[in-house]
């Protein structure tokens, strides 16, 4: 297990470096001047522009810029935004909000996804299986912003069941519906995954062997069908947690939640290249670490992996 972990970590390093380089290049090396973009429609003040370029090392060759950024990133020193705020402070304000939203969405999709997936997998062909399948198809096809608006309009505006937007307090009740919207697509995927895993596992030879041992239907289902079916589901959930942490740009936008997604979107619009790169770097690490945890979980759940 230790060796496996080490190998995964070693594989992670080039990926993190490559991905940060790619994002850095996308933000700073593509045609289009981030400094010019700052001024928006106003005429560019060349002196100020030069000063800003020097402050953010934009006057140096690209690769040097990147290396300097990387060196600073190691000490979590991401510098200041163009507006003069420390980047790390901005991020620190946004992250708790996003974590709260992500954890809520995660619990929602994990619980309902797995439960509905099991129900529909075990009772294939029953009417509620069809209902669950159709609803999950709809959730996958309808974009999040449409689901979000529809909920906001009907539940919030028409029936006043939920707060229309989220205040800066980010209370549980305010966040509940946004979290559901955020988790809905993944929930639908989890339902489908669980269902198909169960129906393929039920046909496995070892399930028949378990029955031949005299085990009751209930324990065969629990120990052999569900246990094995949930391995890929857990993997999916783990990866999704990483993605959820990346902030939900759309959901946060709709419900006016000031989390990472909102911050990222705003800073992209404002051309805050430094802030964007810093956020993406942190998100990348979160994502990659979540994947690493998934790998470990996978190895813990499926003994075959450990020896590969």
């Amino acid at each position: 297990m230790g060796k496996y972990l080490l190998r995964r970590i070693l594989q992670m390093i080039p990926v993190v470096l490559g991905a940060t380089l790619l994002v850095y290049a996308l933000v700073f090396a593509l045609p289009g001047d981030p400094v010019k973009a700052m001024f928006g429609d106003k005429p560019v003040n060349e002196a100020v522009a030069a000063q800003i370029r020097a402050e953010y090392n934009l006057d140096k060759p690209f690769i040097i810029q990147y290396l300097l950024f990387l060196r600073n990133a190691f000490t979590l020193n991401f510098g200041n935004t163009f507006a003069g705020q420390p980047v790390i402070g901005e991020i620190a304000r946004a992250f708790p909000v996003t974590i709260k939203l992500a954890v809520m969405a995660f619990c929602f999709e994990a619980i309902f996804g797995v439960v509905f997936g099991i129900i529909s997998g075990l009772k294939k062909g029953k009417w509620y299986d069809s209902v669950i399948l159709i609803v999950s198809l709809l959730l996958i096809s309808v974009p999040t912003f449409v689901t979000g608006f529809a909920g906001q309009y009907f539940l919030g505006v028409q029936w006043s069941l939920i707060p229309v937007t989220v205040s800066s307090n980010t209370t549980f009740t305010e966040m509940l519906f946004p979290a559901m919207v955020l988790g809905s697509v993944s929930m639908a995927y989890i339902i489908r995954l669980t269902r198909s895993e169960i129906s393929s596992n039920i046909a496995q030879d070892y399930v028949r062997t378990a029955r031949a041992k005299g085990m009751s239907n209930g324990s065969v289902m629990m120990r052999h069908v569900l246990r094995n079916s949930l391995i890929p589901v857990v993997t999916y959930l783990g990866q999704d947690l990483g993605a959820l942490m990346g902030g939900a740009m759309i959901t946060e936008q709709i419900f006016n939640i000031h989390g990472v997604g909102f911050l990222t979107y705003q800073s992209i619009l404002k051309g805050e290249g430094n802030l964007v790169v810093s956020i993406v770097t942190i998100l990348l690490l979160v994502f990659v670490i979540c994947n690493l945890i998934v790998d470990m979980l996978y190895a813990a759940l499926d003994p075959r992996i450990r020896y590969e």
């Binding site: 990926v15 993190v16 593509l30 096809s141 449409v146 993406v280 994502f287």
Partner: protein
């Protein structure tokens, strides 16, 4: 070792010698060819399964409708989607304008109809590029293995670890001024090829290890010939499935980007852009938002349903007799 002293056994009741009447159990030639069913290739077989699948019929009909609307929007509406009159701002439906008007006073029905072409072109073009690039890179990685695979796999990992939407927004932000739909297509393709490449790599690796490749090599075939005449055709099914399904998701992505204001310019008629415009008046005029959303959802749903149906039909399990 057991002794075979069966002869010492008495025959037990019910185990007397029995020979079935030969006329009741006629003998067939050894390994006779069964000519009863018509011969079918994998594709013909898949088609037969598909035809019977209601999911396929419904989604097929929907897709035909969507494609028709995209090709001939003029048949449905005589209105110019770009003709807007502020006098009509947020007016109710009227004759010839079944969906009413949006804030700029444009005809919502006409805009929804004409938006089909944009969404479908983006979805289709992105899918074509993604399938070509993804299959090529995935196939090369899976086929050659070794360091080529290691290198390409790391590159795939890198792209995979960047959140799709985030990456797309960053790049699109740089090209705000361009008004071509190609920028959206290329950006979606840039961050979309990885999932196809992963699948292509896996299925090429699987097909590569099948015995018929060895058989072909021994017949005198070269590795490259094997790749094109055996491996890729056999690895195609999962790629087609993901292609169909992701066509729908690229349409969603385009709408999302347009919704966020970084996708297609407002001058292009698109569902995402219209939804974005309509959200301002959500509280008072929800229907303006409803129609393009509906069109978007139906289109995406039909492609995802089609993907599901194709997946069932091409399931290799159904072909191993």
């Amino acid at each position: 070792m057991t002794d075979n002293n069966q002869n010492l056994y008495e025959t037990l009741p019910g185990q007397e010698r029995y020979v079935a009447p030969i006329e009741e159990t006629p003998l067939q030639a050894v390994d006779k060819v069964d000519d009863s069913a018509p011969a079918t290739s994998m594709w013909a077989d898949a088609w037969r399964t598909l035809r019977k699948n209601p999911l396929f019929i419904i989604s097929g009909l929907l897709i035909i409708c969507v494609v028709f609307v995209a090709l001939f929007p003029g048949v449905l509406t005589k209105q110019d989607p770009n003709y807007c009159n502020l006098d009509n701002s947020l007016s109710d439906p009227a004759a010839g304008h079944p969906f009413g008007y949006d804030m700029q006073g444009c005809d919502v029905f006409a805009r929804t109809v004409y938006g089909t072409r944009t969404s479908l072109s983006v979805g289709l073009l992105t899918t074509i590029i993604v399938v070509l690039i993804g299959t090529l890179i995935g196939a090369v990685a899976g086929f050659f293995g070794g360091w080529v695979d290691a290198l390409l796999s790391r590159i795939i990992d890198i792209f995979y670890s960047i959140p799709f939407l985030l990456g797309a927004i960053v790049v699109l932000q740089m090209f705000r001024t361009s008004s071509s739909i190609w920028k959206v297509v290329l950006v979606l393709a840039l961050f979309g090829w990885v999932s196809t490449a992963r699948i292509a790599r896996g299925s090429v690796m699987e097909a590569k290890n099948l015995e018929f490749n060895t058989a072909s090599t021994a017949l005198g075939s070269t590795p490259i010939r094997n790749l094109f005449s055996h491996i890729i055709p056999n690895a195609l099914a999962p790629i087609i499935v993901i292609g169909t399904t992701s066509l729908g998701s690229y349409i969603v992505s385009e709408a999302t980007l347009s919704f966020l204001g970084v996708g297609l310019p407002t001058t292009t008629v698109s569902w995402g852009g219209d939804i974005s415009q309509a959200q301002v008046n959500l509280m008072t005029n929800p229907m303006v938002l409803f129609y393009p959303s509906m069109a978007l959802a139906i289109t995406v749903l039909s492609f995802i349903m089609m993907g599901d149906a194709v997946k069932d039909a091409l399931d290799p399990k159904s072909r191993t007799a």
